[in-house]
């Protein structure tokens, strides 16, 4: 007697942070269904850029609110683009706090950043976070494009040892979570990303059709096989295979999109040879690829981790030979604070490149930046004290009128960060009831505060 056979699809939703209904097979619905809600023909898009280890907040937060404010030192690289960004102060991720779980703020910072859920403390067994906001969107509107979403990063999560105080490295290596137990590790190699987007061979159309049809038969075969196998397995093993099935179905969908995809997009950059030696080149290349993916409408949702949370990268190129994470525990040593500030500035310079790139890429009657909402931020505010309140968060782009940029808005203390995500999903045409501990939709994105 086999019990629990029908658990499979439901398990995706267990412990979910969002209260909207998410039938997984929605990913199979025709492409036009999801986009009909949008006002403009040009699609809305969202991206999330994560930086680790917090920010030196005194050089991040402007003194004044509204439109008349001086950009502090760290945000200076955005000066030419200030009319395109919105600074959001006062947002908090309460779910990143210990809440009785003791140390591990770095792991929680990354794991809660887009999920809005307090991750389960475990070094391995039974990993649990929530479905991240990008994946909520991907599952709803991802079927419109070849890739439901892209997950990119610039630091391989291959460090060994303990990642953070009894939390598995899965929590600090990814911000994007497809299910409550499946993180989406970012892709690091620009060449591999390029090949995935544009293919790596110049095969004939006939060969392509044949290849895709064989692939479909293969996936049918493994789907059947897996369904059979699942019945004989225990609960946790079944969950692993559900993860597998979910991935197979997503690839099936991609193949279907690819079959009907006659659009030819000629990428405006050469195929990258590999990972550039200079970090800044690497980051810029990844931003180029994200821009291309939006431009070619290969995806509308993307996440990017500048570095993994708790990163110990050194920044020799700007004269910082010390590892980033230990430096952030500066204990008010001015020399260390200066070094961290330099790293923060450096990251912002790369981000400014991205915003500028989006601004200079035409899209319909405007630019990509007009249609996109890009969140830039960290899951920690003060890296020294591990604070999860008043997080460094900014929004670039106008999201097709969802945001009126060029302002600094200060929200009341402890306003949930999740309220921002509720607002963003609403503007993407998929209003959720709530996400995690959200208390409503973040206000003042379009008006003066």
């Amino acid at each position: 007697m086999i019990t629990g056979k029908h658990l499979a699809r439901r398990t995706f939703l267990r412990g979910i942070g969002a209260a909207i209904s998410l039938p997984v097979l929605d990913a199979m619905t025709p492409a036009f269904a999801a986009t009909t809600r949008l006002a403009s023909n040009s699609p809305r898009r969202m991206a999330f850029v994560y930086v680790p280890n917090g920010i030196i907040m005194k050089d991040w937060t402007p003194d004044a609110v509204g439109t008349q404010f001086e950009l502090p030192r760290i945000l200076k690289p955005l000066e030419p683009l200030r009319q395109q960004v919105t600074l959001l102060s006062g947002l908090t991720h309460n779910t990143g706090r210990a809440l009785g779980d003791g140390p591990g703020d770095h792991a929680r910072a990354a794991a809660s950043f887009l999920t809005g859920v307090h991750p389960k403390k475990t070094a391995g067994a039974d990993i649990q976070s929530g479905i991240s906001v990008d994946q909520i969107a991907a599952q709803k509107i991802g079927s419109a494009t070849r890739f439901a979403s892209l997950e990119l990063g610039c630091e391989d999560g291959r460090l060994v040892g303990n990642c953070d105080s009894g939390y598995s490295c899965a929590y600090s290596n990814s911000i994007s979570w497809r299910t409550t137990s499946t993180p989406m590790p970012p892709e690091i190699n620009p060449r591999a990303v390029f090949e995935r987007m544009f293919g790596d061979s110049d095969e004939t159309p006939e060969a392509r059709v044949k290849r895709l049809s064989y692939n479909k038969s293969i996936l049918d075969f493994v789907l059947d096989d897996t369904q059979r196998l699942k019945g004989d397995l225990g609960r946790t093993d079944r969950r692993k295979l559900d993860e597998y099935l979910d991935a197979v179905r997503e690839i099936e969908r991609r193949i279907e999109v690819a079959e009907h995809d006659s659009k030819q997009f000629v990428p405006t950059i050469e195929k990258p040879a590999g990972v550039p030696v200079e970090f800044a080149d690497h980051v810029k290349l990844m931003f180029d690829l994200m821009t291309l993916a939006f431009q070619a409408d290969l995806t509308r949702i993307s996440t990017f981790m500048m570095c993994r949370e708790g990163s110990t990268r050194t920044y020799r190129e700007i004269g910082v030979s010390d590892a980033h994470h230990p430096l952030t525990h500066h204990r008010n040593n001015p020399e260390w604070i200066e070094k961290v500030t330099k790293i923060n500035c450096f990251h912002l310079e790369q981000f400014a490149y991205f915003v500028n790139k989006l601004k200079s890429t035409p899209d319909g009657d405007g630019t990509l930046l007009d249609r996109v909402m890009v969140v830039y931020g960290s899951g920690l505010a003060d890296g020294n004290q591990h604070t999860h309140a008043d997080l460094p968060v900014l929004l670039a782009g106008a999201g097709n009128g969802a945001v009126r940029p060029g302002r600094h808005v200060r929200y009341p203390k402890e306003t949930p960060m999740n309220n921002l995500y509720v607002a963003m999903l609403d503007h993407m045409g998929i209003p959720p009831e709530h996400i995690g501990d959200s208390t409503g939709e973040l206000q003042h994105l379009t008006d003066l505060s």
Binding site: G102, V160, M184, N215, L241
Partner: protein, 773 residues
């Protein structure tokens, strides 16, 4: 059945000699006078309260908590300095009581093998498995996203997730592997290829002769032409192949005739070197200069230029042979027929043999039938039999039976019923543990004969596997993570402070530790050699780094160590480097490294934003040691740092990149230290003596780390009897490395598993820092 744990009781003398104390009479008063002053419900120092335990029963409910308490008492970490210290007898009475109770609990506990979640192959395992399945080292996993790790290792079933990106990569990799492995395409039709000479930048005129490499896909007949350009002189052109002169031709001076040498040759497949050389032919007159030279000048011929070989043309293949069969192809096509000659029954044979090895078990007729369908499908599409095998191979390589190591439970939904895993599952557990790869023919054969689980058979197999070169996987994957050696690759010491550090040194550091670990495996040495083995492996670069004379050349060789500066793993440059900051050494990091990896007693992380370590002052107005000692004066920091820092001070004689030193800036190195329990040392060698004296803690640590790696899951409380047994057997066999591995593979959690209750059991809190009970 695992042996009972009774004898342990009488290893603790106190318990055997004295009348048994009770919780109420001995423990509670002890707690009252020594512990609850800080650890009460109100203060909860360290998140811990020891109030409210009235009797043995209530206390033993929180066993993990009391185990930690006992450990702190026994090692002298508690009560903290400055508090009245109980007498050794009082402490022994308390720890003895608890230990007796623990042993009793363990004895009454039903043996529990636990269960391992289906493990997805990680990147290394995927690469190795493809290598051993097909016989070619394609390394297809290099583009896969990084595998997350848990419990310090990246082969943990629960943590290895599968995202759509990875699935897409699996599909693409399977396609590539199938294409490279199976020769399915018909020989190419003849084509004409030109190989031209493009002058390099700054090169005025092309050189007179031409040579070029050229690959040929198949063996066959080819026309090779060398074409001449430039002034119409009487010339001789000589064609060469692979460095051998083949033929010389007189080049026509006639304006209409092609100016070339042409030969038809039978050439084997592969990379070839073409060459053509020109000589003036003195036996013939040159052509008359063209009276219309001006006119022709713009044309490509450029008759005014010195003659040169302009290009090769290769036309072919004619009468082509079939494409050469690859090693994987020969392995897969077990029928042994020539391409195109396969009979229908071969399909089943080929697919069955492949699937059995790829799935690492027997396969059912139904499974074979469903895979053979791909061959039929391909043939219906007008593709060849071989093409069909390609598709079947692709399907096998993306099947969950290949990508996951799935173990079957007769009672998947019942956690109470344990069973021994079958011999095929055991073969995979062994091979992925010791080789990070699939079982080989011997293991498959023994599994098929159902002999593998027999103690004498498994014993012989483990010894064989450890000596096999594939056991290097244990070095790279187990030791690479246990010792945090993998972090060496991304470590960037500050080049201003350590200008000598470069890639050669990094490689040499890594190689020393790898060879050392390999020697322990292959020579079946004592694991205590990790603490202070008096040998190592050095090349000139690393020997100079260590100040050891007389070693020249880049190759590594075994070196016997004399003197006190180096021995074992702790004083190897690799370990000293990964446990430092990029700019300076850190006794805290090094101490933590030892607690984590040698004693499996990790300290909790510091509370954020704790007191100041004056970095700027280090080495200027005070030494690092003085700074840290100030830090430890803070009682909030003291209890942990009292354990960590002295261990690290003992290694202060080694700088950030592991060089020996006696000075740090203007301050002399002070490598003395006192560990809890008043164990003092004054040199690195004496520190190692202390660690070695506590060999059972080290053995236990290594056992738990290796068991975690072997099982692919965290070591849990119910594994404790197994860990105890392994550690004891290890001690009884002079701590031989092979004994550790053998006892692990014969342990209950390695050989058995049970099902799983369908519903999630209530969460058990393992609270210490979390504020329970």
């Amino acid at each position: 059945m695992p042996p009972r744990l009774l004898p342990l009781v009488c290893l603790i003398p106190y318990v055997c000699l004295a009348a048994a104390p009770s919780f109420e009479k001995s423990i509670e008063p002890f707690l009252k006078s020594n512990c609850v002053l800080c650890h009460n419900a109100k203060l909860k120092v360290g998140g811990l309260t020891l109030e409210g335990y009235r009797d043995a029963k209530s206390a033993l409910k929180d066993r993990e908590l009391w185990e930690k308490v006992v450990q702190k008492l026994r090692t002298g970490q508690m009560p903290p300095k400055g508090r009245p210290v109980p007498t050794p007898e009082e402490i022994a009475s308390v720890t003895g009581w608890f230990e007796t109770q623990f042993v009793r609990l363990d004895r009454d506990m039903k043996p529990d093998p636990g269960r391992v979640t289906a493990r997805r192959l990680n990147r290394v395992e995927y690469n190795n498995t493809i290598r051993d399945l097909l016989g070619v080292d394609f390394k297809p996993a290099s583009d896969f996203p990084a595998d997350d790790s848990g419990y310090g290792f990246d082969n943990i079933g629960d943590v290895l997730s599968l995202s759509p990106v990875l699935m897409e990569k699996y599909l693409a990799a399977a396609e590539k592997i199938a294409r490279k492995s199976i020769v399915a395409d018909p020989p190419p039709k003849p084509t004409r290829e030109k190989i031209e000479h493009f002058p390099a930048k700054g090169e005025e005129s092309p050189a007179q002769n031409l040579s070029a490499p050229h690959p040929l896909p198949v063996e066959g007949d080819y026309l090779v032409r060398g074409l001449v350009n430039g002034r119409h002189e009487a010339l001789l052109i000589t064609l060469w192949l692979d460095g051998k002169e083949v033929k010389t031709f007189a080049v026509s001076t006639d304006d209409e005739a092609p100016r070339m040498g042409e030969m038809r040759l039978h050439i084997p497949a592969g990379e070839h070197e073409l060459k053509a050389t020109l000589l003036h032919d003195d036996s013939r007159p040159d052509a008359e200069p063209d009276p219309n030279e001006e006119k022709v000048k713009d044309k490509k011929k450029k008759p005014g230029r010195d003659p040169f070989v302009d290009r090769f043309e290769i036309i072919g293949p004619y009468n082509p042979h079939a494409r050469p069969l690859t090693e994987p192809h020969k392995r897969i096509f077990v029928c042994g027929h020539a391409p195109g000659q396969h009979r229908p029954e071969c399909a089943r044979l080929i697919v069955a043999a492949l699937a059995r090895r790829a799935y690492r078990r027997t396969v059912s007729d139904a499974e074979i039938t469903s895979l053979v369908r791909f061959i039929n499908l391909a043939q219906q599409n007008g593709d060849s039999f071989e093409q069909g095998v390609r598709v079947a191979l692709q399907a096998i390589l993306v099947s969950p039976h290949f990508l996951f190591r799935i173990e079957n439970d007769p009672n998947p939904n019942n956690a109470a019923l344990s069973h021994r895993i079958d011999d095929y599952e055991l073969a995979s557990r062994l091979s992925y543990f010791l080789w990070s790869s699939m079982p080989d023919a011997d293991l498959f054969r023994l599994a098929g004969e159902r002999k593998l689980h027999k103690p004498e058979v498994i014993d012989a197999q483990v010894r064989r596997m450890l000596l096999d070169p594939k056991s290097v996987a244990l070095v790279d994957n187990f030791a690479g993570q246990w010792l945090e050696l993998r972090n060496l690759d991304s470590f960037k010491p500050d080049p201003d402070r350590f200008p000598n550090f470069d890639e050669d040194l990094r490689k040499a550091m890594r190689q020393e530790t790898r060879l050392f670990f390999e020697a322990v495996i292959h020579e079946d040495r004592s694991i205590l050699d990790f603490i202070d083995g008096k040998f190592t492996f050095l090349n000139e670069r690393l020997a100079k780094h260590y100040g050891i004379a007389g070693i020249t050349g880049p190759e590594f060789r075994r070196v016997a160590l004399t003197g006190d500066e180096r021995s074992g793993i702790l004083t190897q440059a690799s370990i000293l480097t990964v446990s430092s900051y990029p700019t300076r050494t850190s006794p805290v990091l090094r101490g933590k490294w030892i607690l984590d990896n040698f004693l499996n007693d990790p300290p909790p992380p510091p509370p954020p934003g704790v007191a100041n370590l004056n970095e700027a002052a280090i080495g200027a107005t005070s030494s690092l040691r003085q700074q840290l000692e100030q830090h430890r004066a803070n009682p909030a920091c003291a209890s942990c740092h009292r354990r960590m820092d002295p261990l690290g001070f003992g290694l202060e004689n080694y700088d950030t990149i592991g060089r020996w030193r006696t000075q740090d800036g203007k301050f002399p190195i002070d490598s003395t230290g006192t560990l809890p329990g008043d164990k003092t040392f004054s040199t690195p060698a004496e520190l190692k003596e202390i660690l070695k004296a506590d060999r059972d803690s080290f053995a236990r640590c290594l056992t738990e780390k290796m068991l975690t790696y072997a099982l692919g899951r965290g070591v849990e409380r119910y594994d404790r009897p197994a860990v105890n047994l392994i550690s004891r057997q290890l001690a009884a066999s002079d701590y031989r490395f092979s004994r550790l591995v053998l006892e692990i593979v014969k342990s209950l959690p390695f050989e058995e598993r049970h099902g799983e209750a369908p519903m999630r059991p209530p969460q058990q809190s393992i609270a210490f820092s979390g504020g329970k009970p």
